[in-house]
Amino acid sequence: MGEVIVVTSGKGGVGKTTTTANIGTGLAKLNKKVVLIDTDIGLRNLDVVMGLENRIVYNLVDVVEGSCKVKQAMIRDKRFDTLFLLPAAQTKDKTSVTPDQMKKLADDLKQEFDYVIMDCPAGIEQGFKNAIAGAERAIVVTTPEVSAVRDADRIIGLLEANEIGKTQLIVNRLRPDMVKRGDMMSAEDVIDILAVDLLGVVPDDENIVIATNNGEPLAGDSSLAGQAYMNICRRILGETVPFLNLEDKKGLFAAIASVFRK
């Protein structure tokens, strides 16, 4: 029996889809059977980030409407045999699916998969309600900015109201140098405000942009963000993993870079 996890944020553009793709890839690397569901109907992106856009024949709405079987709509990942994507429809909108239908789908899928991960759309309307319907656990993604933190706070309230058992936080796109200067909130500051458990901190890393454009999530590779995502995956599995020391790595890198600059 698997677990249904929703990745949500409230605010758009904080990295929900990137996080979903990387957690899925990371868990598959740890030999878990994972299905990612893109619930952002009408504005799908997860397929592009995963590099599976060209394989889409059926989508989530087809499955829910009964036009095809779940197995037909699921796309196997390019690199990992245990990772699947259920893409969203692009020509429909959020109202094409109801929370009850999503709950049933999630309940069906978790019989077969270790993890069912829902990529939630931005906002708190129908799409959000659909995404959290079957979820047992939530991962809230935020960036260390007041606007994103405020939206995350609202989302955490809604998740509690909907009785989602476990809510954890990922602070995304942190810049250690700015934190050091006092220009950016640190992960600890964000945790203070939101009062939830921290699942991980992902540094701002240009490799993420490259990986997204390539359609190959970087979880588990040598980049700082790739390691951060891999640690997050281990924590999801229940392991205790110490947080990456972002500053030292950054310091070393900056030192090397400064040598070349001279």
Binding site: N54, I56, T91, G215
Partner: protein
């Protein structure tokens, strides 16, 4: 209203028959009516629509005979009307033009007259022209072939029972021959689709072409020669070819 009424339209005559009377009464009345209007009708060529009762072939011949004897008009075609079509017409009229019932009837009938077999064949070989780009999330579906004067962006899709011609860049999905026609094909000036489906076959773009090449392509844009390409089914597989003389010579598509 008499048992038989004649109504003129611009290119034909509507013959209204009383549904209750026996046919031999009607046929004499038809003969009378046409005799009376002989000079009015003149020597024109026109079609005839029979309305009010369902007639069989023999009765149609008798009506034609009566018209031939009693007037100088040349009947080019006879259309029979059944009450079911009438009901459909009536429902349209109620919805759209509640006041002007009579003219609307003739108008609808004329549309029906023009919809004969020749028109059907013509439909099969003709195409819809769609002017403008199709962006992500937009999708069009037609029974005929489709010509798109613009680009099909990623995330957009074109579906047609016939073939698809993109006079622009095809970067999204195209599905030709949706009802299983394996002779359908997909052609684009810039052929770079995510997915092409023809009848029951699917072809996807190679993975290496997505993503990182975007940047490279932009740099080389002036250097690369863009070939107009076409995808069609060959031995059960979708193949891509240059849209040129060799393709056009293969007349199974044309």
């Amino acid at each position: 209203m008499g048992v038989v009424n004649l109504k003129g339209t611009s290119s034909g005559i509507i013959l209204e028959l009383d549904p209750k009377l026996p046919f031999d009464v009607l046929i004499t009345e038809i003969a009378n009516k046409f005799r009376e209007s002989r000079s009015f009708l003149g020597k024109a060529s026109m079609g005839i629509i029979v309305r009010g009762r369902t007639i069989i072939d023999e009765e149609e011949n008798e009506i034609l005979g009566a018209i031939n004897e009693n007037s100088d008009i040349n009947v080019t075609c006879v259309l029979r009307e059944d009450p079911e079509t009438d009901k459909i017409f009536a429902s349209y009229i109620k919805e759209e033009v509640p006041e002007v019932v009579e003219p609307a009837v003739t108008q609808e009938v004329q549309q029906e007259t023009s919809f004969d077999e020749e028109k059907l064949i013509e439909d099969k070989n003709s195409a819809i022209i769609h002017a403008g780009n199709l962006r992500s999330g937009q999708s069009i579906t037609y029974d005929k072939s489709v010509i798109i004067m613009g680009d099909v962006k990623p995330g957009a899709s074109v579906n047609s029972k016939g073939s698809i011609f993109v006079l622009g860049a095809l970067r999204g999905s195209a599905y030709a021959g949706t009802d299983g026609n394996e002779n359908a094909f997909v052609m684009a000036l810039e052929f770079n689709p995510l997915q092409v489906r023809i009848a029951n076959s699917i072809a996807i773009s190679p993975d290496s072409e997505t993503g990182p090449k975007l940047k490279v392509r932009r740099f080389r844009k002036t250097a690369t020669v863009k070939n107009t390409e076409v995808a069609y089914i060959l031995n059960g597989h979708i193949v891509k070819d240059i849209y040129g003389a060799a393709f056009l010579r293969d007349n199974r598509f044309i």
